[in-house]
């Protein structure tokens, strides 16, 4: 079953490469997305997989797998509508790459072996390059080049960190297994200096893929130039995989009883990411780049929550889902706005609510959700992290957290209200783009889920998140 989750998207990728008709091909995306989601649902809800397999489900990646599959499914419906609008671009490679990307994301999430996970994340990066280069102009070339160069350095560092971790096991005189469960079990015997070095390098490496400051510089360019759909998948999918990797190494540090330095480092980088995002979001003139900085901010919140631990970790896992879903709302809505106005600049875009009533309202609601306004999900998860910070005696961190959230709210609101209000320009009115079923229904679904998670957290979700947090902190 777990293997099928990887192989099915690959088969769809092959199919997408074979089909010549650009009318039939886009339909593959929702088909593949729904098959993947059905399989993922069976795997996530089903019994535990056999032990000592390369692929396996534990409480942590069970949550992540379900979330990613849902994210891809909703994006794939949108993709059907999007590709119908962009018939001038060569969509064959794009469609196939989307499926390969899904397959590798799934592999990275399911992998129970340090090396296999690394290979999968590497393949994710590689398969996302054609996605970024979809528009095939000099700007997207520049963005793809930066993304690949910085991403490759991140991946190279992740490999170096993996070597350090392996060496720490070797120095500790342990068995030669690099399965996560073995590493966690034998963590107390790891060589501590090498373990610390490994965590630092791994955190920087996978943190680069996650887009934490100061390794975030690829993010605004990549998210700014990529189609909105790709932005949603990167901001919700790829970063989630990298975060999962970091959580796994964090768990090893906890098991080795040497976690104080890791917490301190994550707390610093988390707050730094929020601060950098706040600086660049004030007076941001490009609404897609604004979303990229928002992603930097929320990656910061995720690692901050983990560094606080306890309820903070729970809040962080919940925020992972909330942020991913809300980013789906924002990126897809931004893509619709981009289609209708032909510009990403705030100067050219006014009156979205009048020009695109549905998209405009969704974008505005997405903005309120992502800045942590009740009753949406992110409010709840950010509040949980804040409460954990105060309960843990981190008053300074809590104060800074609140201040930065406030600055970001103010900074983002001036950009968002600037484009939502007013009268649309004549050019925008003449562009002929209209809200259609395929390009709005997925956004409505994303927003509905964000709202649901804010008002009422279903007990199964709550339980599985709780179990995942306990799994990481080794409380069982």
């Amino acid at each position: 079953m777990l293997l099928a989750l990887v192989l099915v998207p690959l088969a769809f990728a092959g199919l997408a490469a074979l089909i010549r008709s650009s009318h039939t091909r886009p339909w593959l995306l929702p088909m593949g997305g729904s098959v993947h989601m059905a399989l993922a649902a069976i795997a996530v809800l089903g019994p535990a997989a056999p032990e000592n397999a390369w692929l396996g489900l534990d409480p942590l990646n069970r949550v992540v797998l379900g979330f990613l599959s849902l994210l891809f499914f909703l994006c794939s419906i949108y993709a059907r509508g999007y590709l119908a609008l962009r018939t001038s671009q060569p969509a064959r490679i794009f469609t196939a790459s989307l499926f390969v990307f899904l397959a590798m994301l799934t592999l990275a999430v399911e992998a129970q072996h340090l090396g296999l996970m690394w290979v999968a994340v590497e393949a994710c990066t590689l398969s996302s390059a054609p996605l970024l280069y979809f528009n095939q102009n000099p700007r997207s070339l520049e963005a793809t080049w930066k993304y690949m160069l910085i991403g490759s350095v991140g991946i190279a560092l992740a490999l170096l960190g993996s070597y350090f971790l392996a060496y720490s096991a070797l120095r500790g005189g342990m068995s030669t297994s690099l399965f996560f469960r073995d590493l966690v079990r034998e963590a107390p015997h790891l060589s501590h200096p090498w373990l610390r070095a490994a965590f630092v390098v791994l955190f920087v490496g996978y943190g680069t893929k996650m887009g934490l400051a100061p390794m975030h510089s690829w993010k605004p360019d990549a998210y700014g130039e990529a189609p909105g759909l790709v932005g949603a998948l990167l901001a919700g999918g790829l970063t989630t995989c990298a975060f999962l990797a970091i959580l796994r190494f964090f768990q090893i540090c906890i098991a080795a009883n040497d976690v104080a330095f890791a917490r301190k480092m994550m707390m610093t980088i988390g707050l730094l990411s929020m601060a950098v995002a706040a600086v660049f979001m004030v007076r941001q003139r490009d609404y897609k780049r604004m979303l990229a900085y928002s992603s930097v901010e929320h990656m910061g919140i995720l690692v901050l929550g983990v560094s606080i631990g306890g309820w903070g970790l729970f809040g962080s896992l919940l925020h992972l889902i909330n942020n991913g879903l809300t980013k789906g709302v924002l990126f897809l809505a931004a893509a619709n706005i981009h289609r209708a106005y032909g510009s990403k600049r705030v100067e050219d875009v006014t009156g979205v609510i009048r020009r695109l009533p549905i998209t405009g309202v969704l974008f505005l609601a997405g903005f309120f959700a992502i800045t942590g306004s009740p009753p949406f999900g992110p409010f709840f998860s950010e509040f949980t992290i804040l409460r954990a910070a105060i309960a843990g005696g981190h008053y300074f961190v809590a104060g800074l957290f609140l201040t930065l959230l406030f600055v970001i709210f103010v900074g983002m609101s001036s950009t968002v209200f600037g484009i939502v209000q007013g009268e649309p320009s004549a050019k925008a009115v003449a562009s002929g783009y209209k809200d259609r079923f395929f390009t709005t229904a997925p956004i409505v679904a994303f927003l509905g889920l964000v709202l649901l998670l804010g008002i009422y957290l279903p007990a199964p979700v709550n339980d599985s998140l709780r179990r995942a947090a306990d799994f990481i902190e080794m409380k069982r």
């Binding site: 590689l126 490759s152 070597y163 120095r171 690099l178 941001q284």
Partner: protein, 213 residues
């Protein structure tokens, strides 16, 4: 065979410095290719027992590191008719000094790390750290896209050397280093196949400033 390890590593370090100090792009690419061959031979020397897979992976590593990637870079250079790195962000001499300092620091630092007894006194760990450092220096100080690829190759070579410490203990770890090569290979090839090699190889990354705040 084991006696060859340290002399080979010293040659790797010398090529680091050569690459740091030269402005001719062709020489830089050739230097990285020779380093690739050295690493291939090194892989053979490090193995305690030589099996089929060890030899196969060595050959694949040499093929990619010393022939495939440098070949593509040289072709891109020819297409674009550029020969030299102009005005790096930090001059060649200061860069060379930084590289030498980094190498010295790596030697000292590796001495303080708790090494397994079979690696105590070996140059594997310091050479790895020094090569990673050189790679970073080139990545950050050079403008030409080709030079940045070479910087990345050095970074990766350094990591590959670290992987060699695990050769007998951990299966699959060194092979992962080869995959990393393959990754760059595909990446560079993709760029060339997309008919943008002219733009790419003469690309002055300092001029890539359409996307900024």
């Amino acid at each position: 065979m084991h006696g060859l390890v340290d002399p080979l590593l010293v040659s790797v370090l010398l090529f680091n410095l050569f690459i740091l100090g030269t402005s001719r792009l062709q020489a830089v690419v050739n230097g990285s290719a020779i380093q690739g061959v050295l690493l291939g031979v090194l892989t053979l020397c490090v193995h305690q027992t030589l099996g089929f897979w060890a030899i196969l992976f060595t050959l694949v590593a040499i093929l990619i590191k010393a022939m495939l990637i440098p070949g593509m870079l040289l072709r891109a250079l020819r297409d674009a008719a550029i020969r030299r790195e102009v005005e790096p962000f930090i001059g060649f001499l200061p860069c060379l000094l930084l590289g030498a300092l980094g190498t010295g620091a790596a030697l000292v630092f590796a001495g303080t790390l708790p090494l397994a007894k079979e690696h105590a006194g070996s140059l594997l760990v310091p050479a790895s750290l020094a090569t990673v450092w050189t790679g970073f220096l080139i990545l950050t100080t050079r403008r030409k896209a080709i030079n940045q690829v070479v910087g990345y190759l050095l970074l990766e070579n350094g990591i590959y050397i670290m992987g060699l410490t695990l050769v007998d203990a951990m299966p699959y770890m060194v092979e992962m280093g080869v995959l990393l090569d393959l990754f760059v290979g595909i990446f560079v090839m993709g760029i060339i196949l997309n008919h943008i090699s002219r733009e790419f190889s003469s690309m002055d990354t300092a001029r890539m400033s359409a996307l900024k705040e």
